[in-house]
């Protein structure tokens, strides 16, 4: 999960955003961490480059744990 958190931090930083809470599996990417659609799109591109998985290809991803589930498939 550290790697994913690192990528999320990178996206936040790229877009001048900060998240002061703790990253947990159930943290919502939108409402807790504060990513908008464009941030999420950027996140998918980076994750796809790293893991070869398009996390939004089928269905929706809501939490950090959802991402973990997609890339561990």
């Amino acid at each position: 999960m550290e790697k994913i958190i690192e990528i999320i931090r990178r996206v936040l930083e790229n877009n001048d955003k900060t998240f002061n809470g703790t990253f947990e599996a159930q943290s919502s990417l939108r409402s807790d961490i504060g990513l908008d659609s464009l941030d999420l799109a950027e996140l998918t591109v980076i994750i796809e480059e790293e893991y070869g998985v398009d996390i939004f290809e089928d269905g929706f991803v809501e939490t950090v744990g959802d991402i973990m589930a997609k890339i561990s498939k």
């Binding site: 790229n14 001048d16 908008d36 659609s37 464009l38 950027e42 998918t44 591109v45 939004f56």
Partner: protein
Amino acid sequence: MQLFVVNIGEQVSKTYDELLIDLNQPELACPSSMNTTNIYEFYLQLIVSMILDKPFQIKGVGTSDNVYHNPYRFNSIDEVISRIKKNTHWQLEMETSGTTGLPKKVTHTFTSLTRNIKMNERRRADVWGLAYNPTHMAGLQVFFQAFLNKNTIVNLFGLSRDQVYEQIEKYNVSHISATPTFYKLLLPAKTVFHKVQQITFGGEKFVEGLQMEMKKIFPSARFTNVYASTEAGALFAANGNIFSLSEKNKSYVKIVEGELWIHKSVLSESSDLKLQDDWYASGDMVEVIQEVPLTFKFLARKNEMINVGGSKVNPNEVEELILKLNGVKDVKVFGKENSLMGNILCADVVSEMVTEKEIKSFLKNHLPGYMVPRIIKFVPEIAMTATGKKSRV
């Protein structure tokens, strides 16, 4: 000895006398479609097809090699040119470049290809720098302009930056017609060329600021921006990016929902173009500045627009802003398919000075969020397509 064509890339150099000898052979090879990649051989096939008044195709290298008895004996290139002007059956079939979208087949006649060619004694000493693929529309325009005035054609297409500088200098090139992408290759300025009299931009959207930079390299040149297409040939010219149409040209165009439409009377005789009530949608998006006389500027190609989450982004607009940053030499903005947003905006940037963060925060101050590229990569150079345009893929 007047040179006809020089191409350092293929180490070819031919004079008009040598061309005349080749045109006076008792038998002439006249393939129905080009079967060479050598620039002189290609011009020779083109001229022979016009002399024999036989249709010619430009497409992938063909195989047919018809040989005909040569009924002519030319004493000069002028005689060749007057023969060519009398042809009635000759036509040229070619395909549009298909930068965006599938290539379309178009057929031109000598008249449609040379509509905007100027011939007179004043042009005898012109030396043309050919910066386009010789087999494409813009390259053919340079060929006809130069050949019909018996000028030298110096190939600059596909050469390195150093070679381009060297060839302009060595052959005293006086006229260059090229894409903005080609001119950018010449920056930063290495030499000043006082002998270049004419610089023509075409093929892509005009880049503000580039003309200023080019004036430093070519201080004596006149600058023209040409709107041309494979479908219609050269249509109209402007100084800068603002086109103002004469009464004559005005009747050939109309603007529908921001898109430029061209009347069939100025198009090639083509089978593939889709016409709607005699009008052809060019796919070029323009902004009307004034209705009388009709004045507009080009914004983008219609299918160049990138759909990001339902909002349309004009990549040219974003590129222009990024180029304003100090130390940015070149940039390409393009869309990458994305399952969430449809497309995500990406930028390849040529620069050793700016950081990703600087680019993004600068753009955020000037553009809405969806227009700011989310993925920025630094690259050594921006690739071009075969026609010398920026490839947006």
